[in-house]
């Protein structure tokens, strides 16, 4: 049988992959991928602890969290489409108007 720490290790690995993507990648869509990976890792941790207790409130929290990250992705992709229309590129280093 698995232990709660196994799931925590998986979550740590996913979060470090997300951190790597946030630092290295300059493609706006890849940044959103990284954010999604980190959000999912956090959801996994919450579910693991809610199974350990056990309490259904953790599952309710994760339902809210999934819905909010879906809303976040919708707005983020809208912003990317607008930025692509301005700059003809989705590389965030090209977005010079946001500097200064």
């Amino acid at each position: 049988m698995n232990q709660p720490t196994d799931f925590l290790y998986i979550a740590i690995i996913l979060i470090s992959i997300g951190i790597y993507g946030l630092v290295v990648k300059r493609n706006a869509l890849r940044l959103i991928f990284s954010i999604e990976l980190i959000a999912n890792a956090v959801n996994l941790v919450i579910i693991a602890f809610s199974r350990m207790l056990p309490s259904p409130q953790g599952q309710v929290f994760v339902l809210f969290s999934i819905a909010i990250s879906a809303a976040e992705v919708a707005v983020g992709l809208g912003i990317i489409i607008v930025a692509y229309r301005f700059y003809k590129d989705i590389d965030v280093t090209e977005y010079k108007n946001l500097k200064n």
Partner: protein, 173 residues
């Protein structure tokens, strides 16, 4: 000890998470992200949360992945391996990720969390308990969440609106 299903799910989840960031085509990256989300849903099923797993599949694989794939096709990104990803930045990213991995892993390995065990004696809670929580104690949160989702969708629509097309159509009406 871990069992074989857990190891297989871990390989799928982490492998496609890396692939989603490192694949050459952005479209394949989006599909790999969807597969990674499916792996997370598998973990939820292992953890006796089938309702959350189905919600995860419906929202992430059903909605978010399709949205991402539509965006990839819409923006027609010319290059995915850009020259802006310099070697220095890549080394810094790998170092940061590895340092977080080692730090959090060692903290977790030395903490009392390694003695935690899943409670197998109590019966697994069902969907009814989640529904009861959602409808009683968390019902204001549910309403606020619905408003948030509606606001996000309206905001995304307002952002992606093209004003130049509308102005061209105004005189015709």
């Amino acid at each position: 000890m871990v069992d074989s299903i857990f190891i297989g799910l871990s390989v799928i989840t982490i492998g496609s998470a890396i692939l989603s960031l490192e694949s050459r085509e952005l479209l394949y990256g989006g599909i790999a992200l969807a597969i990674s989300m499916l792996g997370i849903a598998g973990y939820f099923i292992i953890l006796d949360a089938p309702f959350v797993a189905m919600f995860q599949i419906a929202v992430y694989v059903g909605a978010v992945a399709v949205l991402i794939i539509f965006t990839v096709m819409l923006v027609r990104a010319p290059n995915t391996v850009t020259k802006k990803e310099t070697r220095k930045r890549k080394v810094a990213g790998i170092l940061l990720g590895l340092s977080f991995l080692v730090l959090a892993g060692s903290i977790l390995g030395n903490s009392a969390a390694t003695q935690l065990k899943f409670n197998d004696t109590v019966p697994v809670f069902d969907v009814q308990a989640i529904g009861k929580e959602l409808m009683t104690y968390y019902s204001p949160v549910l309403i606020v969440l619905a408003l948030t989702l509606a606001a996000a969708v309206i905001g995304a629509l307002a952002l992606a609106r093209r004003e130049d097309i509308e102005e061209r159509n105004e005189p015709a009406n």
